[in-house]
């Protein structure tokens, strides 16, 4: 009996802990974002973070996009050939990438490449007292460290995903048309006919939402990391895991809304 009670006790405590962390994350992030319009204006730091997060992720986004498009062409061709509708390949690739794979895979790559770096960097700033030093030099660390990174991730991810989509569809075209022999006219025409503005909106709404989610999770976990070496290591892992799971969950929710 006591074992059952203590099990419920542990479950309850961990649930309460989760809720209180969620509340803490919400209040820290919203307080930080509230500093956006205040002086001193942090525009320069937002641009610096956009550069760090975005430019550094270009290669990995391009690579992932290319291979996603190429695999989609192979798999799509195999499936469509069974129904004799290879001409639909262009539409299939474009819809899959724009609506789903571009945002999700792009966000995952950004988490792995830039999200982990954000958490580790902020965690190390905490360990080495740099956050306290900013505070003592009368510079609000939430305005200087957290806010620019959340804004930058939110702005940069849609751009990266646009690039992902473009490269993915281009690579799909190469494999589909040049390698598998699909008619190029049909490929492009079907793509134009079947992809609507609504599909593109779905894609970029997801991109903005995922960028924001990565920014909030990775800055929060880094800022609140236990100030030890293990603490920062754990925080980095946790940030990547939580962001990835969060992206997939949010993806389901957004898809069900915007289908």
């Amino acid at each position: 009996m006591t074992a059952v009670i203590s099990m419920f006790g542990r479950l309850g405590r961990s649930f309460l802990g989760m809720v209180s962390r969620l509340g803490d994350a919400t209040s820290l992030s919203s307080a930080s974002l509230g500093l956006l319009p205040t002086r001193p204006w942090q525009g320069r730091h937002i641009v610096i973070q956009m550069f760090n997060i975005g430019v550094g992720s270009l290669v990995i986004i391009a690579l992932t996009g290319a291979f996603t498009g190429m695999v989609l062409a192979l798999q799509g061709y195999y499936t469509l050939a069974k129904f004799g509708s290879e001409s639909m390949l262009g539409a299939g690739i474009a819809l899959a990438i724009i609506r789903e794979l571009g945002p999700v895979l792009g966000a995952m790559m950004l988490t792995a490449r830039a999200g982990s770096a954000i958490t580790a960097e902020i965690g190390i700033m905490r360990v080495t007292e740099q956050i306290d030093a900013l505070e003592m030099m009368a510079v609000n660390p939430r305005a200087r460290i957290i806010m620019p990174r959340i804004i930058a991730a939110t702005l940069v991810l849609p751009l990266l995903i646009a690039l992902f989509d473009l490269i993915g569809m281009g690579a799909g075209y190469l494999v589909g048309v040049e390698l598998l022999g699909v008619n190029p006219g049909a490929f492009i025409a079907e793509m134009q006919a079947k992809v609507t503005t609504h599909d593109i909106n779905t894609g970029w709404i997801k991109a903005v939402a995922f960028g924001f989610l990565i920014g909030v999770i990775c800055t929060y976990i880094g800022y609140r990391a236990t100030p030890t070496t293990e603490g920062v290591g754990k925080a980095t892992t946790q940030a990547v895991v939580l962001s990835s799971v969060g992206i997939l969950m949010l993806d389901y929710i957004l898809t069900s809304f915007y289908l």
């Binding site: 080495t128 740099q130 009368a138």
Partner: protein
């Protein structure tokens, strides 16, 4: 300049500071000494406003420091400097930008003038010509000196030092100690130094506060402390391992633990 009344800070169940009264006098060096876990760093963080006390009051002049608005706190901080235990230089910037950081943030001075100020500050700590180095290229002692130059950049009224000599070789530690002393006399600011380095602490102190287990056990000039009759003070300044401050932190007796006497050994269920 700073007065603290009945300052208490509780972490979890343990009181890191227990009703401490302290008075930091203007234009003097106040040294807070104590062993590890005595609450001295906690006290410094409270006085610097990096943490809030659980209870008690802090006054800067006549101003209530604990319930101050963030805007006013940041205004006050422009006349404060702090040298952190691990220097805490911003590692994305070189020495020049680190020292110039507060001037770039809070003044609209011409870059030429800032350059002149930084050259003067770096000369005072003996590092002129090192402007282009990154923090990762500095030794511990040099990083501390850059941190000191940074803390002085805005000509503050008060500078806080957290363990300024810990982790440094004897020569670097000596350099830092003399710098703290000489610069205080030259620029007439107030210093608050937290340290467990007895020799350095007593050498530079105008006023010494000795903490043990979150309470002040002795207070006075360096000579008062040196000639104190209190057994705990004597043990601390002589560095004896055992005495009124016990070597063993265990609360049960050793023999009872070895004999598994009921009630002494905690066995987790």
């Amino acid at each position: 300049m700073i007065r603290c009344k009945a300052l208490t800070k509780i972490f979890g169940d343990a009181a890191a500071l227990n009703s401490v009264d302290i008075h930091v006098r203007a234009h003097k060096t106040t040294v807070i000494m104590g062993g590890s876990g005595s609450g001295k760093t906690t006290l410094l963080r409270l006085i610097a406003g990096l943490d809030k006390p659980t209870s008690g009051e802090i006054y800067y002049g006549d101003e209530d420091f604990v319930h101050m608005s963030r805007r006013r706190l940041y205004e006050l901080r422009q006349s404060m400097g702090m040298v952190f235990q691990y220097s805490a230089l911003l590692n994305s910037m070189n020495v020049y930008d680190n020292v110039a950081f507060t001037l770039h943030e809070h003044s609209d001075l011409d870059e030429d003038i800032i350059h002149t100020i930084i050259t003067m500050k770096l000369e005072q700590v003996g590092l002129r010509g090192m402007e282009h180095l990154m923090p990762s290229e500095l030794s511990g002692g040099m990083a501390k000196r850059v941190a000191l130059a940074r803390a002085m950049a805005m000509d503050p009224e008060i500078i806080f030092f957290d363990e300024p000599t810990s982790g440094l070789d004897p020569i670097s530690a000596g350099v830092i100690t003399s710098l703290i002393h000489d610069l205080r006399i030259k620029s007439h600011h107030t210093s608050v130094v937290v340290t467990h380095d007895v020799d350095a602490g007593l050498r530079i102190a105008d006023h010494v506060v000795l903490l043990w287990q979150g309470k002040i056990i002795a207070e006075g000039t360096a000579d008062d402390i040196r000639h104190s009759e209190d057994a705990r003070v004597r043990q601390f300044i002589e560095g004896r391992p055992d005495g009124p401050i016990p070597f063993s932190r265990s609360s049960t007796t050793y023999v009872d633990d070895l004999l598994h006497k009921p009630g002494t050994v905690r066995i987790e269920p």
